[in-house]
Amino acid sequence: MNRTLVIECRIVRELDVAEARRHAKQMAESLRFKTVRVYRLITAVSELACNLCFHASDGGVVRLSTIDMDGTSGIEVVAEDDGPGIADLALAMRDGYSTIGGLGSGLPGTQRLMDDFAIWSERGRGTRVTAVIWNR
């Protein structure tokens, strides 16, 4: 699998979220993603970037890469922070659970929107979400 990092967005404020989303949209459109998939991607990027804003103490970074596997292109989103980490991952992935009075559909929702999804988190060290959407 080939991976090319296209852009790294530092997410601290809510305005940075819009910036990350804009880049994601541009990438997906230039790869000629179907519109439905463009919307899925930008919504997922929005969720992940918002999480960095609201949960990680000093924000974090969103890295957007184009990937290629056996001739199929895709976009990989990595959202990473060195914030407090997630105490209970299984709970965080459950629908309707939120520690900040949110809807609790952010992480499980992102997983449903994207084709591949992985999450790593360690208390006191940070959280990293990797999500991929393919152009198909």
Partner: protein, 132 residues
């Protein structure tokens, strides 16, 4: 930048165009509530035709606004959601939006007027029956 709120008779109209940041959202919410209370507006139509992403944060904000309005006795209707936004929202999860919706602003005003009219009729209380 403030989100403008327009008035049409006893109805408030507002349009969320760019993405709201938290402070703008709180300001919008309190302004709607103040207008309903002080200026005797009956409800609000919130148009989101300019949004191409409704993530769980925006959804929560809209839900919150609607329940605040209902709690103080008003009504709220959401209008103009783009079809692809609706599709994505449903794919993302169940029950993310919990408020009255309508296709566009015009339909939204009609829905809101109906809601208000339905509420406006006080239940008829039968006069106590007195035995003679």
């Amino acid at each position: 930048m403030k989100v403008p709120i327009l008035r049409l008779g006893r109805i408030l109209l507002t349009s969320v165009l760019a993405d709201l940041v938290d402070e703008q959202a709180v300001q919008l919410q309190s302004e709607i509530l103040a207008l309903i209370r002080d200026d005797r507006a009956d409800g609000v139509v919130i148009d989101i035709s300019g949004l191409d992403v409704v993530d769980s944060y925006i959804a929560r904000l809209l839900n919150e606004t609607a329940s605040m309005v209902r709690i103080i006795g008003g009504e709220a209707v959401l209008t103009g959601m783009q079809p692809l936004v609706a599709l994505t929202l449903v794919e993302m999860g169940r029950e993310t939006l919990d408020m009255q919706t309508a296709l566009d602003l015009e339909a939204g005003v009609a829905v809101l007027n109906n809601l208000i009219a339905a509420k406006g009729q006080p239940p008829t209380i039968a006069a106590p029956h007195v035995d003679t």
